[in-house]
């Protein structure tokens, strides 16, 4: 007779005999996170640059994008892509929805980080570049963005942590990610305890090193009196 304790030893043995499921879920989460992160960096860079433009048209476009994506829950956006777009004839795979949905959502947050980064650069940097005959694009490309990367690295890394955690919403649309794999194993075997603990451990293994790096790097920047981009509004 097996013990009924939710964390009994035999439950762990059963879990590790089925490690393949959770393992492939972990791989899926990792893939979605890397691609979504790449997408959010591209989108965020564009939005950040647009939102610091002189002209009000690109600025408004960036503002509207950020407000829409930040103020509607990620789950609603994912559901819309999953059900709504499918009804309209655009059927996307769960994998694509994960990458695009999470990527576009976090793109708005990365955009705010990039904007704060550009604004944190001393005005003299722009003026010095212009005085040397650099145009706007060249100034951004060679002067502002390279210097800014260092100071926005800590908030960007925090975004990466939140992005990894948010890929777990895929579980709600059966996205075969780590959360889904753990949950479906848990509900079929009733080994809830070990399955959730293992999933938590794997998420922690992905996120904790990034979060620690972010904190250490920010402390280092502060100690060197470098520019630190600290934006309390961009918490997600």
């Amino acid at each position: 007779m097996n013990s009924t304790n939710p964390f009994a030893l035999w439950r762990w043995e059963a879990l590790f005999q089925n490690f393949d499921n959770v393992g492939s879920g972990f791989l899926r989460t990792f893939q979605v996170a890397v691609l979504a992160l790449a997408l959010s960096l591209i989108v965020g860079m564009i939005i950040g640059i647009l939102s610091t433009a002189q002209n009000w048209v690109p600025r408004s476009i960036a503002r509207v994008y950020v407000e829409i994506f930040q103020n509607i829950p990620l789950l609603i956006q994912i559901f819309f892509m999953y059900n709504g777009l499918a009804m309209a004839g655009l059927v996307l795979s769960e994998f694509t929805i994960g990458v695009v949905g999470v990527g576009l959502y976090h793109g708005a947050y990365v955009g705010e980080v990039v904007r704060a980064g550009i604004l944190s650069m001393p005005k003299g940097q722009h003026e010095a570049a212009y005085s040397q005959g650099f145009n706007y694009t060249q100034t951004m490309r060679y002067i502002i963005l390279p210097q800014m990367v260092k100071s926005i690295l800590p908030p960007l890394t925090n975004q990466a942590v939140n992005l990894i955690k948010n890929t777990s919403v895929l579980a709600i649309i059966a996205g075969a990610d780590l959360m889904y794999a753990a949950d479906s194993y848990a509900s079929s075997s009733l080994n809830y305890g070990p399955a959730y603990v293992l999933a938590g451990l794997l998420y922690f293994l992905l996120c904790f090193p990034l979060a620690t790096f972010s904190r250490k790097y920010e402390e280092k920047l502060k100690k060197n009196d470098s520019i630190v981009v600290d934006i309390p509004e961009v918490m997600e």
Binding site: K165, M179, Y203, P232, E233
Partner: protein
Amino acid sequence: MIESMKTVFTQPNVLFLLDGLKTSLLISLAVVILSIIFGTLLGLVRNYERRFFGKVAGFYIELFRNTPLLLWMLGCAFLIPGSTILVKGSFALFLYTAAVVAEIVRGGLNAIPKGQFEAAHSQGFSFFQSLWYIILPQTFKKIIPSLLSQVITTIKDTSFLAGLGIMEFTRSGQVILGKVTKTSEVFLIYGFLALVYFLICFTLSVLVRNWHNRNSENV
């Protein structure tokens, strides 16, 4: 379009959706209040108690900051015996949000100059008196924008409870979705859900920005 609006926004449907919205907002309110209390405690302990309890608070915060909310919701729902799924799911949201609040509070505490503590001590305030009368009031004034933006995040996070089948706003929208067949009706419902969340969160975010701008002008 008008036809679709008539089929979607019937009186029982609208009342049903509003009921879900009420649940979402009540959960958010309870979670925000409780997690500000617990989060402040955690932040204080982590900052000022360097031995056992400080380590425990640190471990708690790191654990919740580096694992997904949905995992805690599912874990609480299936591993805590008794109670309703609504309470257990909201409890997970509370545990998770408290860890975030703790970090916000800690950031605020570290921004208070050390001299404030020393001045309070020199006036005969005990440690707890200095915290209560001198340090915490200043800390909270500083972190109000961050806390408000955490309120926005919490409102958005309640939508995850739909994954547990809790009848909050997102889930009630899904129930209505199950009753319609036309594409325009589906779009209308998603549009309505998005718009309501947007109006609530956007209004709060405008408050955050105004507060931030006003206070950075003062400094």
